[in-house]
């Protein structure tokens, strides 16, 4: 259906820790195969943070489960590669793939209360992989567990490793989750909505902690979120996903300054600001169901700048500026075009022939 999105990224460059190329994931459903991720590419380098932003169902979590080899039985990868430190994880056997997880790439899940095992102590869960895979002794494991909890700034770590997840507060639990992902010193950390379940004040603390640890260890961090507001202070690069595809990829500063896709623009507008007084604009409509994808550009039914061509043709990847991509027929215009009040028709008219 769509060609490889990311002409801008050259495959398998040496300094990328994690490089996903043209990934596609399908779910088997009673009504046939449904594509949840379609041609996603991104790269994460040491010491950098990539934010993947999208609404629920946009494929952002499914793509990271594919990287970790944790897709449910009903899903399978139909296309693409996932290179971790130069080797393709998807070409490996399930067992080899599993062995890379935790060790080189680890994951922090959204709901720590569900993601931690309720019947094992926190200390046990922090060091389970170390004991099972690296043969750490009981005493070493205990010392390491205390170190890990200290690192994520859980007070009174020595006593708390003997407690169970339900005895921790939400923020502390998420710190435990992060510590257990860091136990084996991974090169890349994927954090799937790590702060969504938390109070706003706690969110900020946990994000700051993630950023600190990432900087200190020069890890690659993939931060998955639905909230562009969270991204600004933490990320270096941003990938915006819509309906299983990356609609825009750019470094964070230029993206905020001048979004090159109407969806990104709409997302940015719906971030509440401290000074804002008026009502927040919302994006009308709902994301399309992967089973009933609209023809042409998947975003066209909700786009405020829709043109005829959007209804019939899938936009090819465009490079509106150095280091940026956008899946919009009118990427360059969107980037330079007027704000929300501009007449969409006027914007598109004289540059309509831009696309080939």
């Amino acid at each position: 259906m769509s060609p490889a999105m990311n002409a801008a990224t050259s495959p398998a460059s040496s300094d990328a820790l994690l490089e996903v190329t043209d990934l596609a994931v399908e779910f088997r459903t009673p009504d046939g195969a449904v594509r949840a991720v379609d041609g996603l590419s991104y790269r994460v380098e040491a010491g950098r943070t990539l934010a993947i932003v999208g609404e629920s169902g946009s494929g952002k979590s499914v793509s990271s489960l594919a990287v970790m080899g944790l897709l449910p039985d009903t899903a399978r990868v139909t296309r693409g590669t996932v290179h971790l430190a130069g080797t393709d994880l998807l070409a490996m056997s399930r067992k080899e793939h599993r062995a890379r997880c935790g060790d080189q790439v680890a994951m922090v899940f959204q709901d720590a209360l569900a993601a931690l095992n309720p019947v094992h102590t926190v200390g046990y869960q922090l060091t389970e992989a170390l004991r099972a895979r690296r043969g750490l002794s009981r005493g070493d494991a205990r010392r390491r567990a205390v170190e890990l909890l200290d690192m994520v700034k859980v007070p009174n770590a020595k006593a708390r490793i003997k407690e169970y997840p339900h005895q921790f507060s939400g923020g502390m639990r998420q710190r435990v989750m992060i510590a257990s992902a860091l136990a084996m010193d991974p090169d890349v950390l994927i954090a799937d909505e790590p702060t969504t379940a938390l109070d706003v004040t706690v969110q900020a603390q946990v994000l700051r902690l993630l950023a600190e640890i990432q900087a200190e260890r020069q890890m690659g961090l993939v931060l998955i979120t639905h909230d562009l507001g969270v991204v600004a202070g933490v990320a270096d690069d941003v990938t915006v996903m819509y309906a299983g595809r990356a609609v825009e990829q750019a470094p964070v500063v230029p993206l905020y300054a001048a979004p090159a896709h109407p969806y990104t623009r709409a997302l940015l507008r719906s971030i509440p600001s401290a000074s804002g007084t008026g009502s927040l604009p919302v994006i009308p409509g709902r994301p399309p169901s992967p089973a009933a994808m609209p023809a042409g550009c998947p975003f066209h039914p909700r786009c405020d700048a829709v043109r005829d061509v959007c209804r019939t043709e899938v936009p090819p990847p465009a490079t509106p500026a150095e280091g940026r991509t956008s899946a919009c027929h009118f990427a360059a215009d969107t980037m330079t075009g007027p704000g929300p009040d501009g007449e969409p028709g006027v914007v598109g008219r004289d540059t309509g022939g831009d696309h080939e």
Binding site: R98, C101, G102, N117, E128
Partner: protein, 334 residues
């Protein structure tokens, strides 16, 4: 934890007292409506009022309240509680101490239950885990189908068919094949042999265990499926743990909580099954004693054995609760 156990113990004691009171009330009503069970002592003979009176006195049935419908008979109840507290369960119709009968019968019931428990766990854990692990596969459907089939054969039917149809030919065949003094003929003996208690209890025990295993298989499968879908299993896999470890420490371990509860409930069901099994197979166990007492109209013995089994049930329930608290840390701190 200690406090929790203490609270549970006190609660259980209260329940047991209530159970005994309910049983007492029901018995009292029955006697008031039905006339004195002392007549059963004489079978079909006509007894003189003096003879009846002496039997009634022996079985504590001489209180006038038993002739007054609606009277809860609290006096005899308190008296009986006092006797039970001293370990005195009364006597059966032939004057034997019930505590002695029970003590003699208990080992065989324990033998039966150990076979039953092994069958439950072996079938339930193995088949249930396999069905959950390979959910939706051919094997899963097969296991499911067999659990429905098992349910369709009540233990009573299984045992009647076994004893009257299958056992005798099997016994004869194994005698000819393996010789008269080998083990197989004893396994298939159609009734219990007290000189070979284990050998003659194995098959009835397996049948009783089989009858109860269907619910087990389903429960183990359902609770493991729930565990497999749990986020914590995904976390364990994301740490790169071997699948074997994930299954043992995160799936089986987590689903052990409902399974232990089920063992407790199944045990209570199994008590009923044990009565049928021991009755039909002539096993001299507590259930067999009860079965025979019902046939002989030995009401005193029936009451004593049912009360005793209720007490055993209460104890099992406490053990289950404590095991539950040990297995699930979330319970302990409530």
């Amino acid at each position: 934890m200690g406090r929790y156990v203490l609270r549970r113990l006190l609660q259980a004691l209260g329940t047991l007292l209530l159970v005994m009171f309910v049983l007492h009330l029901l018995t009292t009503v029955a006697i008031q409506l039905n006339g004195s069970p002392a007549q059963a002592f004489f079978g079909d003979r006509v007894a003189s009022p003096a003879q009846i009176a002496s039997v009634e006195q022996r079985f504590n049935l001489d209180d006038p309240c038993f002739d007054q419908p609606g009277n809860p008979c609290l006096g005899p109840f308190v008296e009986r509680l006092g006797q039970y507290a001293q370990g005195d369960l009364g006597t059966n119709l032939r004057g034997r101490e019930i505590s002695g009968i029970v003590a003699a019968a208990a080992p065989n019931t324990m033998r039966l239950f150990s076979v039953v428990l092994v069958t439950w766990l072996a079938l339930g854990m193995l088949l249930g885990s396999a069905a959950a692990r390979w959910r939706g596969s051919f094997g899963d459907h097969g296991i499911r189908l067999s659990s429905v089939l098992i349910d369709a054969f009540p233990v009573f039917v299984l045992l009647v068919v076994y004893r009257y149809v299958v056992a005798v030919p099997l016994n004869r065949w194994s005698e000819q094949t393996f010789g008269e003094n080998s083990w197989p003929p004893y396994w298939f003996k159609p009734s219990f042999d007290s000189s070979h208690p284990w050998a003659t209890i194995i098959v009835p025990g397996i049948l009783l265990g089989l009858a109860g295993s269907a619910a087990f298989i389903r429960l183990v499968r359902a609770s493991q499926l729930e565990s497999y879908q749990g986020d914590h299993v995904r976390t364990a896999r994301s740490k790169g743990l071997a699948e074997r470890r994930v299954v043992l420490h995160h799936v089986v371990r987590n689903s052990s909580v409902p399974v232990v509860t089920a063992v407790g409930l199944a045990f209570v069901e199994g008590l009923g099954g044990a009565v049928i099994t021991e009755g039909i197979m002539n096993i001299y166990g507590i259930g067999g004693v009860l079965w025979q007492a019902v046939r002989d109209d030995d009401v005193g013995l029936v009451i004593a054995v049912v009360t005793l089994l209720a007490a055993v049930t209460v104890v099992v329930m406490i053990v289950v609760d404590i095991a539950y608290a040990l297995l699930d840390p979330r319970i302990r701190y409530e």
